[in-house]
């Protein structure tokens, strides 16, 4: 395989102190490499070393099989452009002027712009959909607009490699998607190699051809997202003990409520998620069931509760599962009916609700506003406890 961007035994750090060592990356031309990892893991340090802002402590960076250290600053500037996290505040500069700075490695001694340069500025502005901002003062822009202008500046530099340090920070979701779309297009149509760091793991897995997981003093893993990401990669990478991250959907759940379950949620078919999250918000430990293992409710329930009764997908619910659910239900002070429509395969859940009534455990039905229902549940539970104390 012909690798365009490559590092060999790279060690990076500040003041000759090694922060991360043995970084070996190899990426083909026109691919997107994303660095992920916890805060302070050294993503920026790696990026700064690649762009020669920091001196390498050991190892070599190759672009197109040329050693980067042998390049003059000007040659490097024509090969590599950057978008940094530095919040710049140039005074009295229009966006077009900021973007035109990207022509720096190509202009003459006084930085005079030729018609070709102006055309490049315009093209770059068009590419980031910011042509209408051209005449506006840079300091009046919003964060999203600034980031687009800085990207246009980098594009205008006509690089072969573009390095971006957390380009999506400060951006709202729409601008995040727009920015990543532009990067994807540049990589595919222009063959520009993109190296960046991202905080959003879900976006990183979706846009990247390669992921580099940075953790501690060495590289946790490197490769295509599908090859290196397994169910607990993220939890391990970020030391997630509380809360969880669902790799399949990119959704985050907060810390699960601890303790013996007080509420039993009869759910399924996606109706339960809102109830689970509402219970988590009030830190109310709960049990739930019976859920098929391919149910979306199950994906959330298993990370928010230790007491989930589940049934293998595409199989009938068994009486053993029912017995276990009934046992959990009997220990609860209230039952919450998430409102799952009864059907042939989940009739055991309807039986659970009937059982609750038989045992005179209060059953509440979740409405359109689960939070309100939870308040009622809490009132019911505390009412019961009060009675018990009396």
């Amino acid at each position: 395989m012909d690798f365009y961007f490559r590092t060999e035994g790279l060690s990076v750090g500040y003041d000759r102190k090694v922060l991360i060592h043995d970084i070996d990356i190899a990426v083909e031309k026109g691919k997107i490499l994303t660095l992920i990892g916890p805060n302070g893991a050294g993503k920026s340090t790696i990026l700064k070393s690649i762009t020669r802002q920091l001196e390498l402590i050991a190892g070599t960076v190759y672009i197109d099989s040329h050693d980067l250290a042998s390049r003059s600053p000007k040659e490097l500037a024509r090969q590599m452009a950057v978008v940094l996290t530095d919040r710049i505040r140039p005074e009295l500069m229009t966006c077009a002027e900021v973007v035109a700075m990207g022509r720096y490695p190509y202009t003459n001694l006084f930085g005079k712009l030729t018609p070709d340069d102006v055309a490049a500025v315009q093209e770059a502005l068009e590419r980031v959909h910011a042509l209408d901002l051209a005449g506006q003062d840079f300091s009046t822009l919003s964060d999203g607009q600034r980031q687009r202008i800085m990207l246009a500046r980098a594009i205008c530099q006509e690089p072969e490699v573009i390095v971006l340090d957390e380009p999506t920070a400060y951006l709202d979701i729409r601008h995040k998607i727009e920015l990543l779309d532009i990067l994807r297009e540049m990589a595919q149509k222009r063959g520009i190699t993109v190296i960046m760091s991202l905080h959003e793991i879900d976006l990183a897995t979706k846009i990247s051809d390669y992921l580099l997981c940075v953790k501690g003093d060495t590289i946790d893993s490197f490769g295509p997202p599908d090859a290196i990401l397994h169910s607990h990669t993220i939890e391990r990478l970020y030391d997630l003990h509380n809360g969880s991250y669902d790799l399949m959907f990119g959704s985050v759940e907060l810390t699960k409520p601890a303790g013996t379950p007080k509420v039993f949620v009869v759910a399924g078919g996606g109706c339960g998620i809102a109830c689970y999250r509402a219970l988590q918000k009030r830190e109310l430990p709960f049990a739930t069931g019976i859920l098929f293992e391919n149910d979306v409710d199950f994906r959330v329930a298993r990370v928010l509760s230790d007491n989930v009764v589940s049934a293998p997908a595409f199989e009938e619910m068994t009486s053993a599962q029912f017995e276990r659910a009934a046992e959990l239900l009997s220990g609860c002070a209230a039952v919450l009916d998430a409102g799952t429509p009864p059907g042939t395969f989940n009739r055991k859940n309807s039986e659970l609700l009937r059982l609750a009534e038989e045992r005179s455990i209060p059953v509440l039905r979740a409405g359109a506003q689960p939070a309100e229902t939870i308040e009622k549940v809490i009132a019911t539970i505390s009412g019961l406890t009060d009675k018990m104390e009396v």
């Binding site: 710049i88 005074e91 077009a96 001694l109 930085g111 500046r153």
Partner: protein
């Protein structure tokens, strides 16, 4: 493509031209007023006639290798007016405009360096450092060197500027806040002032007279020699700054971006400091410390240009500084005549409010 170009304001060349022409006009006006007004009034017509003759003879003198020397001598000695004109007022206003311009450019370079518009050789104590070394040279070396030349003084001032700049730089690594840096600069300035005063205490009376006059900052006593020295040092300095305008413009985006565009940051920063120190050293050595020009003039220039493009700002700031100083010198000379004010007094009156305005505006911009 042409039609599209108009969409961009990639440097407002039209406005720059208008500003430069107006500043040139103002400078001519200021120079004429300066030559014209004084304890002895010289009619404008006479001024122009004498200058024209003077120029004619000088040029002739240069081309014929001294053929017009007698005529030139005769012209200068022809009347009291011509003597005042040629040996006092013209050198004074020329020195004033060159040094005023140099000081503005020096301040501008410091502002680029610290990436903050509220920086200047005076407020950062650099002028005081130069003054200290010039003072020491005048007091202690004057005895050993026969007649201290203006070049010696410039070298002394340059060394003084560099020492204080390094001290301020050392602190700038520790304090990231610009206001704190200004406080450091002012304190360093006071220390230098104290050292200077200490030296004066031990100096001979004769030296002190010279020194007190000079240490207030004044353009009086300007000679053609001074003008030649100032021009020889400052004009190349300003031209060199102009050649830095491309990296300066990229540096406005911050060190990281500047580096990524191919600028070697360290040599660039060293060059900025050397040029800035050289220019302010010339001013301090030849005219004494002059306050607030270095901060106020570049700011005024940017405001009227409505652009921060260095290729525009540097020449405009030079002209603007010249106009500012020549007018201030006029005021210093004439308002309380025959008593002459220190030039620093006048520049402070006009310059300090501009700085206060800038600080308030910046604070508001940061909060808003």
């Amino acid at each position: 493509m042409k039609a599209n170009n108009e969409k961009f304001r990639l440097g407002n060349t039209g406005r720059f031209t208008v500003v430069m022409v107006s500043l040139c006009g103002l400078l001519v006006l200021a120079l004429v007023m300066n030559v014209n007004i004084g304890s002895v009034r010289i009619a404008v017509g006479d001024v122009f006639r004498m200058i024209w003759d003077g120029l004619r003879y000088s040029v002739g003198n240069i081309f014929t290798g001294g053929g017009y020397a007698d005529e030139l001598e005769a012209l200068i000695k022809s009347s009291t007016e011509s003597q005042i004109l040629f040996s006092i007022r013209i050198p004074r206003m020329l020195l004033c405009s060159i040094l005023g311009g140099a000081l503005s450019v020096s301040g501008y370079l410091l502002q680029v360096f610290f990436r903050n518009p509220i920086a200047g050789p005076f407020v950062l104590g650099i002028s005081s450092g130069a003054k200290m070394l010039v003072g020491i040279t005048l007091i202690f070396l004057a005895g050993y060197i026969n007649g201290v030349s203006s070049l010696t003084l410039i070298i002394a001032a340059f060394i003084g500027s560099l020492i204080i700049t390094s001290v301020v730089l050392l602190f700038s690594h520790k304090v990231k806040n610009m206001s704190m840096l200004l406080v450091v600069g002012i304190m360093v300035g006071y220390i230098c002032g104290a050292v200077t005063d200490f030296c004066i205490t031990f100096a001979d009376e004769y030296d002190v007279v010279n020194l007190t006059n000079w240490s207030m900052g004044t353009f009086s006593g300007a000679s053609w020699d001074n003008v030649a020295t100032a021009a020889a040092m400052c004009i190349p300095g300003v031209l060199a700054s102009l050649f830095l305008s491309k990296p300066i413009s990229a540096y406005a985006l911050g060190e990281g971006y500047a580096q990524s565009m191919g600028i070697r940051i360290k040599p660039f920063r060293v060059l900025l400091i050397l040029l800035s120190s050289l220019l302010s050293a010339c001013v301090t050595a030849l005219a004494g410390p002059i306050s607030f020009v270095g901060i106020a003039v570049p700011h005024i220039t940017r405001s009227i240009l409505k652009s921060a493009k260095p290729a525009f700002v540097i020449p405009a700031a030079f002209l603007c500084g010249a106009v500012f100083c020549v007018f201030c010198d006029l005021i210093a000379r004439t308002v309380f005549a025959p008593t002459e004010l220190a030039i620093g007094t006048v520049t402070s009156v006009f310059g300090a409010p501009v700085v206060i305005y800038m600080m308030v505006k910046r604070r508001r911009a940061q909060e808003g």
